[in-house]
């Protein structure tokens, strides 16, 4: 029976060899750049030294994780990650929903197309430029925000050095960059609402305000719930490439997150084992959250992420 299986396998391979040749480069790529690095996860459980290599370094069990959980800076980074995500959920998550509903209520087709074109644009701008814009606008000497503050007779603020301002700046500029683009998902959902619903509501004398609350919003609620679940699944992921550009030692207290901690300890410092453990800790939580989120979404609606 096994021999028969291999015979058939051999025949298929010979017959469809071109197909297997086509997939080969991609298969190699995934093995080499996404699966082979997983071997390196071992060092989270080792006392790693680059000279002895991965195989030569001694196992230390959960020692690195114990060190992490006793490290104030790591705990702070973990809590900051959740705080920034949580605040994003409260302040940034609703914005694209509101935007989509407002776009939908816009009467002028031309105006709608124009404003959509503008608000999608920042999504395609690099985080380096966004950081540059933020640094410019908030500059204590020449930045517009401080020029306005001082013309109102208020004290100038060096926002980027103040820990209490970091989250506001980070979440605010993220809304500027992504809210417009994220509204696409909700606009697609709104486009799927049957026009007859609105027509019969109009016959019944409903105002646009009422239709917005009683038709549009309930109809896109499933989409909102799915997006909410995805967001909760990504609770331990924050845009660290952007944070690295905006934070500085003075603001670590509120700005340092797990990924930036991994970057600093592992790549700027060379505590590879500790940094890998921190990354793995986060990745496992992220994976569990996404998994749980998918289970919930399968129960809540018929749609699931995979």
């Amino acid at each position: 029976m096994i021999a028969g299986y291999f015979k058939r396998l051999g025949e298929d391979l010979r017959k469809d060899w071109q197909l297997y040749l086509l997939i080969l480069p991609m298969l190699l790529w995934f093995m080499l750049f996404l699966y082979k690095p997983m071997e390196g996860l071992q060092i989270a459980f080792k006392d790693f030294s680059p000279f002895r290599g991965i195989a030569g370094s001694p196992w230390v069990g959960l020692e690195n994780f114990r060190t992490l959980l006793g490290d104030q800076i790591f705990i702070r980074a973990f809590l900051n990650t959740i705080t920034i995500s949580g605040l994003g959920l409260i302040f940034a998550f609703p914005v694209p929903i509101v935007l989509a509903i407002m776009f939908n209520e816009l009467q002028s087709e031309l105006g709608r197309r124009f404003s959509q074109t503008i608000v999608y644009l920042p999504h395609f701008i690099s985080v380096v430029i966004v950081a540059g814009i933020v640094i410019n606008l908030l500059s204590p000497t020449t930045g517009v925000v401080n020029l306005i503050l001082s013309s109102l007779g208020l004290e100038r603020v060096y926002f980027l050095t103040q820990p209490e301002w970091f989250r506001t700046v980070f979440i605010g500029s993220n809304i500027w960059k992504e809210a417009g683009f994220e509204s696409i998902v909700y606009l697609a959902a709104i486009a799927g609402i049957s026009p007859t619903l609105y027509e019969s509501a109009r016959v019944d004398g409903a105002s646009r305000w009422q239709m917005m609350w009683r038709i549009t919003l309930p109809c896109i609620l499933p989409t909102i719930i799915i997006m909410l679940i995805i967001r909760i699944g990504n609770l331990v992921e924050v845009g660290f490439e952007y944070i690295i550009l905006l934070y500085q030692p003075a603001t670590y207290r509120t700005a340092d997150v797990v990924s930036t901690y991994v970057y600093r300890t592992g790549l700027q410092g060379t505590q590879y084992d500790l940094a890998t453990a921190a990354g793995l800790f986060n990745a496992v939580i992220a994976f569990a959250l996404v998994f749980a989120a998918n289970r919930i979404s399968r129960k809540v609606s018929t749609t699931s992420l995979w």
């Binding site: 997939i23 298969l27 996404l34 996860l41 209520e105 490439e241 592992g266 790549l267 990745a283």
Partner: protein, 293 residues
């Protein structure tokens, strides 16, 4: 929908309020761009003394002259072109054939291979193991490393695969009757039929390549290889903290602010140039590419 006249007074007020709010949002999206543009074409003295808030003051191209005469700027710009277009070409050359094979039911182990791709959407080894792996492969400080190391991602593969799966069977059967090989089938039938999906993926690749800086910062050592975003990052972020450098740039014609603004504008322009085609395709691409097993 009913015509505008049928709306009551309340509805009209609602409409105006709504349009006003959208207008405000659009203006606040546009404002930073206009501000940066104005700073870049104003004199250094006007900017440093806080006179530029919306419109440029003492029009001058001095900042651009300064930037365009910097050798490193051109090196970085050239590198970004290499990474963007070389990288996108490699990405497509690997992902299109791979996604096509994954879309064929007769591929053995298809289910496992699909799972292998999808798993990487949710879990990867992380920053340090990836870095150590690049080091082991000898791809540190190498242009090849930047181009090859980031060639594929699961999202794009799944998007292409779903599109190939949706191509009607009749096309394939007709081509097979004519004795087309697998390569010919892909090249002459599937690729032409899947143009929108392929262009969408290409645009995703181009934009993300153009904008990325993080791994270039981690992997590259020499100045000769850095992409534009890293050059920008070094000037804007690293040097803002460095007052000495900032004041060394300060002349009456240009200042640190006008120079950084000019570099930002120079890096945004290519994105603006391809933005219309992105607009045309991404709506299609996103609705096509709902990530599903």
């Amino acid at each position: 929908m009913a015509s505008f006249n049928l709306y009551s007074r309340g509805d009209r007020i609602f409409g105006y309020a709504n349009a006003t709010l959208i207008g405000l949002f659009v203006l606040s999206t546009l404002y930073p761009f206009i501000y940066i543009l104005s700073v870049s074409i104003s004199s250094g003295a006007a900017v440093t003394s806080g006179q530029v808030v919306l419109l440029p003051k003492d029009l001058t191209l001095a900042a651009y002259e300064f930037v365009l005469s910097d050798r490193l700027f051109w090196i970085a710009y050239g590198n970004t072109f290499i990474y963007t277009f070389g990288g996108t070409a490699v990405s497509l050359a690997i992902m299109i054939p791979g996604a096509y094979a994954l879309s064929r039911a007769r591929l053995r182990g298809r289910k496992i291979l699909n799972m292998m791709v999808a798993f990487t959407l949710w879990f990867n080894a992380g920053m340090i193991p990836f870095f150590l792996n690049m080091r082991d492969l000898g791809l540190l400080d190498s242009r090849l490393g930047i181009i090859i190391g980031f060639a594929c991602n699961a999202f794009n593969v799944i998007l292409l695969r779903n599109f190939f799966e949706a191509v009607p069977k009749s096309f394939e059967e007709a081509a097979k009757m004519d004795g087309a090989s697998e390569f010919q089938l892909l090249w002459k039938v599937f690729i032409p039929l899947s143009k929108p999906a392929i262009i969408t993926v290409a645009l995703f690749c181009i934009v993300s390549r153009w904008n990325s800086y993080f791994w270039a910062m981690v992997l590259l050592r020499g100045e000769e290889k850095i992409p534009l975003q890293l050059y920008l990052k070094r000037i804007i972020v690293d040097l803002t903290a460095n007052d000495e450098f900032a004041s060394s740039l300060l002349t009456s014609r240009y200042s640190f602010e006008t120079v950084t603004a000019a570099i930002m504008i120079a890096s945004i322009i290519p994105v603006l140039l391809i933005y219309p085609s992105i607009q045309k395709y991404f709506n299609k691409g996103i609705t096509l590419g709902g990530v599903k097993e």
